[in-house]
């Protein structure tokens, strides 16, 4: 059980347990109509299935903080739509669906260390490191003489992810990518 909160403690970014599911407050507004009571208007997003709803709470309302825990894990392998991870210290294995993994699928390589958010002991999502290193598996040769500043070309990474890179990048090279933007950062000297 998470700790108990009062309406006055509600704010954007807080995670609550409602009807057994964890919710994130994605939007929050304090309201006080005329001489009336304080009202706390929240937009809540279900952290498991992504559905959102609006709800207005009153001062006397009580809340339970969602029982969430972050764990360090490594990615083991993918089997169809199932992604398998292992806790680095307990060696316990967890399975996430493609929906739960989301865009992180573009950057997942074997043994990659990620942090996973667990709700009541079940993983509900992962957070990647800010930067990962991936190998280029397909790249067209750069066109000789094209030295226009900022010119780019698409290359395919080992995960199947296609990213725009400078023209000098070649097949087989290791690149550093920013997982927050999905962008190329630099070539990794090997």
């Amino acid at each position: 059980m998470g700790s108990t909160l009062t309406a006055g403690e509600l704010r954007k970014g807080l995670k609550l347990e409602i009807d057994g599911d964890p919710y994130l407050i994605v939007d929050f507004e304090f309201s006080k109509p005329g001489k009336g009571q304080a009202l706390y208007r929240c937009r809540l997003r279900n952290m498991i299935n992504g559905t959102q709803f609006d709800r207005t709470y009153r001062s006397g309302d009580k809340f339970t903080a969602a029982d969430l825990e972050e764990q360090e894990m490594q990615f083991l392998y993918r089997q169809g739509d199932a992604f398998h991870f292992m806790n680095n210290t307990t060696y316990e294995q967890y399975e996430l669906s493609q929906d739960q993994v989301g865009d992180a699928v573009n950057f997942l390589t074997e043994n990659l260390a990620v942090s996973s958010l667990l709700y009541q002991g079940r993983p509900i999502g992962i957070t990647l490191p800010n930067f990962v290193e991936l190998r280029v598996v397909q790249a067209d040769p750069g066109i000789k003489g094209d030295t226009a500043a900022g010119a780019t070309k698409p290359v395919t990474m080992e995960t199947g992810y296609v990213v725009q890179v400078p023209l000098f990048i070649e097949e087989g090279e290791l690149l550093k990518l920013d997982t927050r933007t999905g962008n190329y950062v630099e070539r990794v000297k090997s």
Partner: protein, 309 residues
């Protein structure tokens, strides 16, 4: 960002704030108002069910409104007084709430709330002039125009139009407040300001009941772009009824386990000398927010509160 760069970036908003306040002050001066300064530190703020005063050490509190002191001046025969003052309300914090905010409050002897509505028109026009907004402007995706025709709705009309029911006493206060915030307020004051008047008697606060219809109080709120800007009323001048309302508030606060403050006895004493008058308070920060097209109150004050109670 450093504090210096934040404050430097806020300069245009603070300059507009200064021009707006000067224009409001000049308007009231032309109307013959005497600007006064009453205490910010008080022994007994007005008991309000939903407003918590900030304790100020010893047995004092910071004022939640200058109302009681200003009415004591009115009871001594002052005809027209106004005041710009900071007021303090514990725990009120949000996009439109700052626990220390600036009120412009003014009173007219021998007038009722309709005279205040006329003052609002003049003041908002003056403020728009000072802010360069007389020709209208866009705020949050809406066009606002002080010169367009002002909306005027009673609480009953507004609720039946936007919430689908008519509030009357005994009032379901939870339903009233919720629908006010979710359904009514967002509809009020486009493109011109809106006057929402005649609240159910139970929501009268320090207002007198209407002589035409005692089910409602002569109280109105000024809205613009869905934002509550001012709250005014024909003042209650009956000391006995006022005392009963205060005592009922204190009882209800005790029942709910809320902190209570002493009865303002000097104020109640003075009420027997008060002749019919009307008074109103306008939130200066919120008016500047609208004029500056700011979406957070912190954008129009120099320093957001560091300690939020």
């Amino acid at each position: 960002m450093t504090e210096q760069s934040i404050l430097a970036a806020r300069r245009p908003a603070l300059e507009m704030r200064c021009r707006v306040i000067s224009a409001l002050r000049a308007f009231l001066d032309r109307q013959g108002f005497l600007e006064v300064q009453t205490p910010v530190l008080t022994a007994a703020p007005a008991p309000e069910l939903h407003i918590d005063a900030v304790p100020a050490g010893g047995s004092g509190f910071l004022i939640t409104s200058p109302e009681l002191y200003m009415k004591r001046l009115m009871a001594a025969g002052y005809e027209r007084i106004c005041q710009f003052t900071p007021v303090f309300r514990a725990g009120e914090r949000g996009r439109r709430h700052h626990p220390e905010f600036a009120l412009l409050e003014w009173y007219r002897l021998g007038s009722d709330y309709t005279a205040l509505q006329e003052d609002c028109r003049g003041l908002l026009r003056a403020a728009c002039g000072a802010a360069g907004r007389l020709a209208g402007w866009s705020h949050g995706g809406h066009f606002l125009d002080v010169e367009a025709e002002w909306q005027h709705l009673t609480v009953r009309e507004a609720f039946s139009r936007f919430a689908g029911w008519e509030p009357h006493d005994p009032l379901d206060e939870d339903r009233f407040d919720l629908d006010m915030v979710e359904k009514v307020e967002p509809q009020l004051g486009y493109p011109a300001p809106c006057i929402l008047s005649d609240y159910p008697a139970s929501q009268a606060a320090l207002a007198r009941l209407s002589p035409r219809d005692p089910a409602v109080a002569e109280r109105f709120e000024l809205y613009w772009a869905g934002v509550e800007l001012a709250n005014g009323f024909s003042e209650l001048t009956d000391p006995r009824e006022q005392r009963e309302r205060f005592e009922a508030v204190i009882r209800e606060r005790r029942r709910r386990g809320r902190p209570v403050t002493p009865l303002p006895l000097e104020f109640l004493e003075s009420l027997s000398h008060l002749t019919p008058c009307a008074g109103i308070a306008l939130g200066v920060d919120r008016l500047v927010m609208l004029l500056a097209s700011a979406d957070h109150i912190d954008q129009v004050v120099a320093f957001p509160p560091e300690v939020v109670t």
